[in-house]
């Protein structure tokens, strides 16, 4: 009899407590169906409460840029949440400046959907789609740069200068997936494929994945197009400066403008150290020879005797300084490492170019 009471009471208490926990979970974690009002009623979504805004939007095929996949380390997924978000979380704080905090900007990967939301999504994000692509071709351009041609599963529309996000798969010791951004180097008039340039970064998660584990014929997921790096119409010409893999968006921009017959002056400066770091040189030189308004100026800062280099010598900033005199009406388009971009901005500003017409990707 005693054994029965013992077993019954312990089981009873455990069961009651478990039921209490389940009830609390239903009560506290159940947010029901919440509606998301996008752009003042332009689009309305009904989603299950409890997930993050970023993932809920992705499930509804609206892709907000994100490099870290929701871990609050990249700060790219910013959206304005006008109503319905909880208090600002400590994980979001470091990424928002005073102006953003004032206009209700949040990190969408940190906002948990608990009730109806009112949000603002920039128009260009609606053009972003998910693509399941097949790697059609991999071409080696230099000792650490590969060019990938991805055949898309549906047509794409993008502006020259924009970028795609590549999704990696787990490999080796890397157990999670990441997204990394790469500028599109192909002409926007090609709608069924995109070309990306990937330069190997030591210890880089995505570049190591791409260089060591992706072969022709593999399936790779891309999202895009993203970015507000593209030539503005208001310019009378463009000073374009690129280093390393930064030549990618420039190639897209130039092919696009030449194809559309835009007659503006384009000066493309490409800086490298020795001849083996150059690529696309003959291709771009041919275009320059054929089109009077396109000028291609590659520069080597450490040309070796065997390079037999007859082109510009010295730093890319020196080449720009020497070759660009009158910047009236010219816009600046820069793509490369942060150090190179800073140095080029200094040179352009010294010549009189203002900040508002110098453009560069911030990723």
């Amino acid at each position: 009899m005693e054994i029965f009471i013992t077993v019954a009471s312990v089981s009873g208490i455990s069961t009651i407590l478990t039921i209490l926990i389940i009830i609390s979970e239903r009560l506290f974690n159940n947010y029901g169906t919440c509606s998301i009002d996008i752009n003042d009623g332009a689009k309305k979504l009904d989603v299950e409460g409890g997930s993050t805004l970023l993932s809920a939007l992705a499930e509804n095929k609206i892709f907000i840029p994100s490099a870290c996949g929701g871990k609050a380390t990249c700060g790219l997924c910013k959206l304005r949440v006008l109503d319905g978000a909880g208090p600002l979380l400590p994980t979001e704080e470091p990424y928002l400046n005073a102006e953003e905090k004032a206009n209700h900007t949040r990190l969408s990967c940190q906002v948990k959907i608990k009730k109806n939301l009112k949000i603002v999504i920039p128009e260009e994000f609606f053009l972003v789609q998910e693509y399941k692509t097949t790697v059609a071709k991999i071409d080696r351009k230099t000792h650490d740069i590969l060019e990938y041609n991805f055949k898309l599963d549906k047509p794409i529309t993008f502006k020259a200068g924009q970028y795609m996000q590549v999704k990696t798969k787990p490999y080796g010791k890397v157990k999670e997936v990441v997204w990394r951004a790469y500028s599109i180097s192909s002409n926007p008039s090609t709608h069924d494929a995109v070309e990306l340039i990937v330069r190997r970064v030591p210890q880089g998660i995505c570049t190591t994945y791409m260089h060591d584990h992706v072969k022709e014929g593999d399936i790779v997921e891309l999202t895009g197009p993203y970015g507000d790096f593209y030539p503005r119409d208001t310019a009378s010409g463009y000073v374009m400066i690129a280093g390393g893999s930064g030549l990618a968006p420039m190639k897209a921009i130039i092919l696009d403008m030449l194809e559309r017959g835009i007659d503006k002056q384009m000066y493309l400066f490409f800086g490298a150290v020795t001849k083996k770091d150059l690529y696309y040189v003959e291709y771009l030189q041919e275009l320059a020879d054929k089109h009077a308004n396109f000028h291609f100026i590659p520069a080597l800062s450490g040309a070796l005797p065997e390079d037999n280099w007859t082109g510009e010598k010295g730093l890319i900033t020196e080449a720009v300084d020497r070759n660009v005199q009158d910047i009236t009406g010219l816009h600046g388009l820069l793509c490369g490492s942060p150090g190179m971009i800073n140095a080029c901005i200094q040179v352009l500003k010294k010549k009189g170019m203002t900040d508002d017409i110098i453009f560069y990707d911030k990723f």
Partner: protein, 150 residues
């Protein structure tokens, strides 16, 4: 030894595949707090501060920045080369520091010995006293590193 939850979450961020391909802890069997304490002891014994070490590293990187991807002399004994890549890498200590992807290679011209570091290394040494785990690609043994910075 048990770590605070804060250290545990930072140690999580340092695993392979979170921010870099192989992570920041290499094949080290010690936990983050033990690594920090051990390296701090070495630095204290050599009579330097983290700030002094980081400043010297930054000065050498600045010399190399005058012309990236080229070998530049630091003095009669050492030469430096700085390589740069596009993009940023966040600091695993969750202090919202975004480091440029910049690698500095410092070589002793006479002996051929070399040491390399990233911009993130400089920041992590200066602010957190972190030299990465043994076996990590960017591990800097404090005594070895300091021998190059005289």
């Amino acid at each position: 030894m048990k770590q605070t939850a804060n250290m545990l979450s930072i140690q999580e961020m340092m695993q392979a595949g979170k921010l870099t391909a192989e992570g920041f802890l290499g094949t080290d069997t010690r936990n983050l707090t033990e690594i920090l304490l051990a390296d701090q002891a070495v630095v204290n014994e050599l009579g330097l501060t983290f700030k002094e070490i980081a400043d010297k590293m930054q000065a050498i990187t600045d010399i190399g920045l005058k012309m990236t991807e080229a070998v530049l002399p630091v003095n009669e004994e050492f030469a430096v080369q700085v390589d740069e890549y596009m993009g940023f890498i966040p600091c695993p200590f969750a202090d919202n520091y975004q480091a440029a992807k910049r690698n500095t290679l410092l070589k002793n011209r006479r002996t051929g010995a070399a040491v390399h570091w990233s911009d993130l290394n400089i920041h992590m040494i200066r602010e957190h006293g972190f030299f990465e785990g043994v076996g990590s690609y960017f591990r800097l043994d404090p005594a070895y590193l300091i021998s190059f910075l005289k």
